[in-house]
Amino acid sequence: MLLIACPWCGDRPELEFRHAGEAHVTRPADPAAVSDAAWTGFLYERQNPRGLYRERWRHLHGCGRFFNAVRHTLTDRFLGSYPPGGEPPA
């Protein structure tokens, strides 16, 4: 079970959280203006990297807030977590 750092509540066990997919997938400001291909990318295309992954979590059974985290997909080590709209740790 992962130990996940909520930016507001601190380290909590994984069972308090719900994963919410890849982070920094930006919804186009004017969806009508983007091509079908671009919209398909927004809907379906994800990085799924072998390595550092920026992902979203929600502290569902805690403060209820969404946030971002950087996790290494091979070791499951977290490099850090940060609020939505923030910059990932270097």
């Binding site: 079970m1 130990l3 969806p31 009508a32 919209w39 927004f42 807030r65 969404f66």
Partner: protein
């Protein structure tokens, strides 16, 4: 035999127990294994495949043979318990397993009947002949009878299982000398310490070596002092009979503690998050493969030493040691000395050493005890009916195989194997630590690890006690570990032991799964090269053993057959659990009613009193129908439907999801999320809302009421409430953080009584205050009082009839219900359930999310295109709907389906047309009392343009059935009944 003195047993506390129905007596402090061994029992079970008699190989958790059934009464019968890990208790009832009809006479073992049937890969080799159905009729029943472990219990477990979460700065796994010293020093440096050990007693290897001195003191005295110090330290929690069976991410370690408390608490799961983990898990002695090495009376040398020192049991009176490692000599000497002290004579007459030149000091020490050492000798075969009664030994040829021609026979009743030691790295490996091959240690040792952890002592390849204690003390203080002193090679490498045994017959590598060196050689001959494949093909290291005694030797034999070096062949990965863990421990309190806790609506108890049939809907348990007298479900549903259409019905609709959306930007927020237009909705009015996903497909639906300019009461489907709130929260927090809006789940705050039917207003009106009910329009909402309670009153219909939904605080619901029930009696008010609700809505062509939709259905597909706010710039799913193909005319569209033959179609049936290819499917099908015939809804390609056409629905009970396509609205298409 039991020695007259010694051991850690309490000879003043005899305990009576039975094994296979026979009475025995042991002592407090015994295990089931030591007590039976003391009583002269040598056969503990039959082997998995060949039904060969098997005795004790080991003394601890690694025991592969002595799996027994412990019977504590109904529901408390546990199979596959290792006799070495069962503390003796008064009245214990134990039975052997996998024997038929009895342990001594086993039909399966007669004439080697089983052996030819079960070679390596027997799971995978097909049993083709003699007939086509031979597998089911002949082979499978036979193999099932012959192969297998214990019987599963057949009654519910009446005991309780606990669960605790714990946090500590240091978790020490293993309570041997390394673990104890590490725990003591860790506690001195501060912080909470948890020390766990699978045994009943701390001490580990020291429990078998009372002759060893620590700082000039007998080690059992040092041990007692150290244990007392640990127990006295409030920062240290000592957990015995507690196995760390799972090492997960970020130092999350799961422990299974056996309690066997008188109050019924049997076991407890500990979920520990540790700052650092110190692994002191010791090492497991390696058996040596040679012909007949599985005969009862053939035992690991270290195990024999344990039985002798710890439990005062001499496991044999004439023992031969087969040594490939120095440590065997100490065991042989301990037995010889104990035997001499007890007047048992020369207990160990001979040591066979596989090495050509054993250390001179050991040979001299043996000679001083009158023990003959035959260097460069191996075992050709063991002899005995059941238990070993002798063996034939022979000098080894240069290739390591015994020279049969020069064999000599010798009598013995015990044969000790000292094949060297395998560091117990299972937990380290589970933690994703990397193992490295260490040639000097002749073992895989812990390498790098992503966790804050260290391995100490024998599991780290450190074997000399002084070095172990230093290493442990340093680790306990958190100091970086000094490189372990280079191990002095005192053993024949495992690869050489294996090479000498490849050609041997019946030389077992995995005792539990009955895998021999020949099986491994066969697997390689048949083309398996990867150790992972060899393992699975031969079933080596499966079941409770998990490679503890077999892993390294099977690897070494495979390497020898392949002619490769051992590290090249690799190592199979270790997975949790480390030892078998009961389902009870994993489940804890989550069983029965709280296995998956159900939710019940406010009128649940009333419904049960009325004899309602219940059905699960998501997490909820809802009333499906209220049969009267001898009515079956169908009759009850028909009566309930007619009551709603002709008079009035009442439904507990409290399970509907409800979200309060509040704030100055509430309308704008809904505008951006839901497909409908919201700014124009006046307070006091409702709208049927559609929520899509970004891909344009329907996610949820529900009535949304505007109570005030800044306050909406949003309803969702019963099963979709959490999903919808999660999605709305996501957009609120991450896409539209600038909006001033708050979302609150109010599902369980409101109880909802739905009154549906032409007489609904007549029932309700007398109970309503602060509102002119007659003036409340369809899709209107008002806050008022009903039966004296503050209420939100909706005029909505999910049946097509005049309808109201009265929301009151959930705790007022029973009183409201009673008031409505009394007021409604003269009007024929009838309680109805979810089944009638489904029929009524389907007659009107109203969809149910998840029934008419499946994640690939757009609003237009189900005729709800009208609800979309076309002029809106954006909403969730708008762009998705604009994708190519989302408006194609041949998309599957909602239609009504009237069976031409009067039979109810099957839900899920494929719809076929002329070309006999699937063009859709039946989504809902019911018998309709109101229509007087069965009917169905379905999704059909281009269906809206095909009204009047005949299609066919597949049936499981015969040829496809003709259906006439029509409008999905079968009841009151003009909508004239909404006003009653």
């Amino acid at each position: 035999m039991r020695l007259p003195a010694g051991g850690r047993i309490d000879r003043d506390r005899p305990l009576h127990f039975t094994f296979d129905g026979r009475a025995y007596t042991g002592y407090a402090g015994d295990t089931l294994a030591s007590a039976l061994l003391a009583a002269g029992v040598s056969i503990f079970g039959r082997s998995f495949k060949y039904h060969r008699p098997r005795g004790l190989l080991a003394a601890g958790a690694e025991e592969p043979n002595a799996l027994v059934e412990i019977d504590r009464g109904p529901g408390r019968r546990e199979p596959n318990q290792r006799a070495t890990m069962v503390p003796l208790e008064a009245g214990l009832v134990a039975r052997s397993q996998n024997r038929w009809p009895s342990l001594r006479l086993d039909v399966g073992a007669l004439a080697g009947l089983a052996a030819p049937l079960l070679p390596a890969g027997f799971y995978y080799k097909t049993f083709l002949g003699p007939r086509r159905d031979s597998w089911h009729r002949l082979w499978e029943p036979l193999i099932r009878r012959m192969a297998g472990l214990g019987r599963a219990p057949d009654a519910p477990d009446p005991d309780r299982y606990g669960n605790r979460f714990a946090h500590c700065e240091t978790l020490v796994v293993g309570g041997g000398p390394a673990g104890i010293v590490a725990a003591l020093t860790a506690a001195e440096s501060g912080g909470r310490v948890i020390l766990c050990d699978e045994q009943e007693e701390l001490g580990g290897s020291l429990l078998a070596t009372p002759e060893v001195m620590i700082d000039g003191q007998p080690c059992w005295e040092s041990l007692a002092a150290a244990v007392a110090e640990l127990r006295a330290n409030p920062q240290v929690r000592v957990l015995t009979r507690t196995t760390a069976f799972h090492y997960g991410l970020q130092n999350f370690v799961a422990l299974a503690q056996v309690l066997d408390r008188a109050d019924g608490l049997r076991e407890r799961l500990w979920q520990v998050r540790a700052g650092r983990v110190l692994l002191a898990t010791g090492a497991i002695e390696r058996p040596i493969p040679f012909p007949g090495n599985d005969r009862p009376g053939v035992m690991l040398a270290g195990a024999a030493r344990s039985y002798c020192a710890r439990w005062g049991v001499l496991p044999g009176q004439r023992a031969v040691l087969l040594a490939a490692h120095d440590s065997g000599y100490a065991a042989a000497f301990a037995l010889a000395d104990a035997g001499a002290a007890a007047g048992a004579g020369a207990v160990v007459p001979v040591i066979l050493d596989l090495r050509a030149a054993p250390p001179e000091a050991l040979v001299a020490a043996a000679a001083a005890r009158g023990i003959t050492v035959l260097a460069g000798h191996g075992v050709v075969e063991t002899i005995g009916a059941g238990r070993i009664s002798g063996l034939r030994a022979a000098p080894l040829r240069p290739d390591g195989t015994p020279d049969r021609g020069r064999a000599t026979a010798m009598a013995c009743d015990l044969l000790l194997m000292a094949g060297g030691w395998t560091p117990n790295v299972q937990l380290f490996s589970q933690s994703r630590g990397r193992l490295r091959w260490d040639a000097a240690a002749d073992a895989f040792l812990p390498g790098g690890s992503p966790e804050a952890q260290a391995s100490l002592g024998a599991c780290n390849g450190t074997t000399e006690l002084g070095a172990v204690l230093q290493e442990a003390a340093a680790a306990g203080r958190g100091e970086a570990q000094a490189a372990a002193a280079p191990a002095v090679p005192t053993a024949l490498p495992i690869r050489a032991i294996a090479a000498g045994a490849v050609a041997a017959r019946k030389a077992f590598v995995d005792f539990q799964n009955d895998v021999t060196t020949a099986d491994l050689a066969l697997a390689v001959r048949e083309g398996f090269r990867s150790i992972e494949h060899v393992k699975r093909y031969t079933t080596t290291g499966m079941a409770t053993d998990q490679g503890k005694t077999s892993g390294m030797m099977s690897l070494a034999v495979t390497a020898a057959v392949l002619g490769r070096d051992l590290p090249e062949v690799g190592l199979t990965s270790f997975r949790p659990p480390y030892t078998p863990t009961s389902f009870g421990t994993l489940a804890g309190r989550h069983r029965g009613a709280v296995f998956d806790p159900g939710r019940t609506a406010p009128m649940h108890d009333w419904a049960v009193e009325q004899g309602a049939l219940l059905e699960p809907v998501g997490q909820w348990l809802r009333a499906r129908a209220f049969p009267r007298g001898a009515e079956d479900l169908q009759a009850a549903v028909a009566r309930e439907c007619l009551a709603v259409r002709q008079a009035v019905g009442i439904l507990d609709a409290s399970t509907l999801g409800k979200i309060e959306v509040v704030g100055p930007d509430a309308a704008e927020f809904l505008e951006r999320c839901y497909a409908n237009a919201w700014h124009g909705l006046a307070p006091g009015r409702c709208r049927y809302g559609l929520l899509l996903r970004e891909d344009g497909f329907l996610l949820d639906d529900g009535v949304v009421a505007r109570l005030a300019p800044d306050r909406f009461h949003v309803t969702t489907t019963t099963g979709g409430a959490a999903r919808v709130l999660h999605l709305l929260e996501d957009y609120r927090q991450t896409e539209f953080p600038e909006l001033q809006v708050w979302l609150t789940s109010t599902t369980e705050h409101w109880g909802v009584a739905a009154l549906q039917g032409p007489r609904a207003r007549r029932v309700l009106a007398p109970l309503v205050e602060d509102l002119d009910l007659a003036a409340l329009p369809h899709m209107g909402v008002a806050e008022c009082r009903v039966a004296g309670f503050p209420a939100r009153l909706f005029r909505v219909s999910f049946s097509g009839e005049l309808g109201f939904e009265v929301n009151v605080p959930a705790n007022r619901m029973p009183a409201l219900w009673q008031a409505l029930w009394q007021a409604g009696a003269p009007q024929g008010l009838t309680a109805y359930g979810t089944e009638a609700m489904h029929v009524l809505r389907a007659e009107k062509g109203f969809i149910i999310i998840g029934q008419e939709t499946d994640g690939t259905v757009t609003p237009d597909d189900v005729g709800l295109g009208w609800a979309i706010g076309r002029k809106k710039r954006d909403f969730i799913g708008k762009r998705g709907l604009a994708r190519a193909g989302m408006a194609a005319p041949d998309r599957r569209q909602l239609v009504g389906l009237a069976p031409a033959d009067g039979r109810r179609p099957e839900e899920g049936a494929q719809l076929l047309a002329g070309a006999r290819r699937a063009e859709g499917h039946v989504t809902s099908a019911y018998d309709s009392a109101c229509l007087g015939r069965p009917f169905a809804l379905g999704l059909l390609a281009g269906g809206r343009a095909r009204h009047g056409e005949t299609v066919f629905a597949t049936r499981r009970d015969g040829p496809p059935q003709p259906l006439t396509v029509g409008s999905p609205v079968a009841w009151d298409p003009a909508g004239e009944r909404l006003d009653g």
